[in-house]
């Protein structure tokens, strides 16, 4: 008798546990992961947040997986209306309320994003009517070819995960193309240098941007005649790696390893004696940075 009871107890425990596990499994599939979603975040949780807010009419922007200002105001309005503390954070309580109030068809939303379709996710309208398939350029074959070329390029560019979000955070005042152009210049000028050396080159470009003696745009500074050897000999058109891009973003976000330098040169290859007359600040790797 004793034996049986302990067995049944064990069985009960097992049953209970399995229910628990399946329950947590259920919620983790259909709702957010455990994170507190903060402004600036990217990823699947943000996609879900945006889709759910749009589902109940708070968010009218694009579902792009980047928690920007539009999402922020939408969430705050939601928090206000549902009696939650208004902080713009996707905390546990807020997420629970949101899950209770809205629908989210994760599979459908992610399919649309993967296909690159334009879509919305308002409640009360059949979702099939909210999709505009991506317009392909004339000639399917051409588009296909471009697609594969791009995919190859993407693979070369490293392991950046771009499937989740269709947009990216960009530091204020600069476009992604500006960043790309700078990454090209940094890579062409200093691909053999350490990471700090690359941030330094990007910082010099930005210091020139602020200086009265240089042009006032990224492209102006980079393509100024005789300014960068990488531009003169065409090395700027090499495909930069991820590291160069990171270095540029760091520099834009305020890291300046050069101590406010406007010039730099490689003492082994510099041809102009004038550059030696500039007051030097410091040396990073092969480059000497000067005022």
């Amino acid at each position: 008798m004793k034996v049986i009871s302990s067995k049944s107890k064990r069985l009960l425990l097992f049953f209970f546990l399995s229910v628990c596990i399946s329950l947590t499994y259920e919620t983790s599939v259909h709702a957010f992961s455990g994170q507190v979603i903060q402004r600036g975040a990217v990823g699947d949780d943000v996609i879900e947040l945006q889709a759910r807010l749009q589902n109940i009419g708070y968010y009218n922007g694009k579902i792009d997986g980047v928690y920007g200002w539009g999402t922020y105001w939408a969430l705050r309005n939601f928090q206000k209306d549902f009696g939650l503390p208004v902080d713009g954070l996707g905390g546990l309580k807020t997420r629970q309320k949101l899950v209770g109030a809205s629908n989210f068809n994760g599979k459908w939303v992610h399919t649309q994003i993967a296909k690159g379709n334009q879509f919305t996710y308002y409640g009360g309208v059949p979702i099939e009517k909210q999709v505009k398939p991506r317009k392909r350029a004339a000639g399917g074959a051409k588009a296909q070819a471009r697609q594969t070329a791009r995919n190859n390029g993407g693979a070369k560019n490293g392991n950046r995960n771009r499937t989740a979000a269709t947009a990216a955070n960009v530091p204020g005042g600069y476009s992604q193309n500006d960043i790309q152009l700078m990454a090209n210049a940094v890579y062409g000028e200093a691909r053999g240098e350490s990471y700090i050396g690359q941030v330094a080159i990007a910082a010099v470009i930005l210091n020139r941007l602020e200086s009265p003696s240089f042009p006032n745009s990224i492209s102006g500074v980079i393509f100024e005649p005789r300014a960068f050897t990488a531009v003169a000999d065409g090395q700027i058109w090499l495909t930069p790696n991820e590291r160069a891009r990171e270095a540029v973003i760091d520099a834009i976000n305020g890291w300046d390893p050069t101590g406010n330098a406007q010039y730099y040169f490689n003492p082994d290859t510099a041809t102009s004696p004038w550059i030696w007359t500039r007051p030097q600040i410091k040396k990073i790797g092969k480059h000497i940075f000067c005022k």
Binding site: N161, S194, P212, D250, W255
Partner: protein, 450 residues
Amino acid sequence: MIRNILVGVLAVALIGTGYWGYQEHQEKNAVLINAENNYQRAFHDLSYQMDVLHDEIGNTLAMNSRNSLSPALTDVWRITSEAQLDVGQLPLTLMPFNKTEELLSDIGDFSYRTAVRDLEKEPLNDKEYKRLQSLYKESGEVQDELRKVQYLVIKNNLRWMDVETALANNDENADNTIVDGFKTVEKTVKGYSETSNLDPNFSSRQQKEDNFKNIKGKKISKQDAVAKARQYANMSGSPKARVEESGKGSEFGFYSVSLTDPKTKNEVNMDITKKGGYPIWYINTRDVNRSRIDLNTASNKALAFLKTNDFDSLDLYESAQYDNIGLFNFVTSVEGVRVYADSVKVKVALDDGSIIGFSADEFLKSHKIREIGKASVTMEQARAKINPNVKVMEERKALIENDLGEEVLCYEFLGTIGEDTYRIFINANTSQEEKVEKLKNSEPVYENIV
């Protein structure tokens, strides 16, 4: 027979090569002429802009009424920017031509400041009038020298491509009229620059270069710097340290410390001010793996890091995720007033939550004990000044630097028009609209759209 065929083939080959060579030559010439023309256009345009600039400044000297003075000064400002653009297109980077460019920038600064001011209430004072006169004289000299160069260029059919080669070969003896001409222009300006910048009202640029003057403390030694860096880096094991002092060109003394872990080859770099031993920036170079913690946890870690390193009373103002890195921007908050100039940035790796970057550059440059004055305008009065199309969502007080480089106490309003978010600063004493900026939305990844 074979000989004839051979001769024939060789003849064809010769003609073919000749033709190909001729074509190549033509193409090269076309490209050269194109490049030359671009330089010529920029140069002649610069000369023209200097003419217009000189005339326009001359006109303002004779004007007295606000109605005509403001537009004229605005025009001066526009012309200086165009002239600067032209200089930027000429291959003068490795030639000392900055003084001339600085003159242009000074004229631009001056004309902008005076043009945006309400000249009815605050007309040009004597000092400013004198400054305008000296700018008129200086621009006249530059114009004169440039005209001389231009005359020689046209008369002798001089080519900018030769300047390129002269500068590249660095031939001191080469007699290059253009290079010499520009050197003369530069010398002319140099003669003035020292004396004419005396008026402190017009030195916002110079002021900015006057770095780190507010920091206090004793001078630290190299050993202290290394110790400090170790404390920040928080590295396990015994990293190898290397310290270097800043060179003569630096506006302030600092140590550059680099710590390398002999095992993992991880490198930490850091600059520390000599005076007081304040950290200017810090970067830990390592590969960051897939994100495991969220942005919110990371921002708390960043805040804790700042607390342990004596950066108190900071508000988180911006956060953003770049791949597997969280970037946080903190600003000082004094009695609930945000001081935007005092900004500290922290970079957190989202794989293990460690601090991999830190920059207090701006903070150290601008931080000081501030007396934050009283606001004579109420929040409601300020809000009434905002464009009625803006739906205000958030409001607070903030200290910002306005267009004229002065620190002013403002009410900051965040509001929306449609899908766009704006930040609006209304002066808390004059209720003037100091700054309106559209905040950046995320940018689509074009790879997926095009």
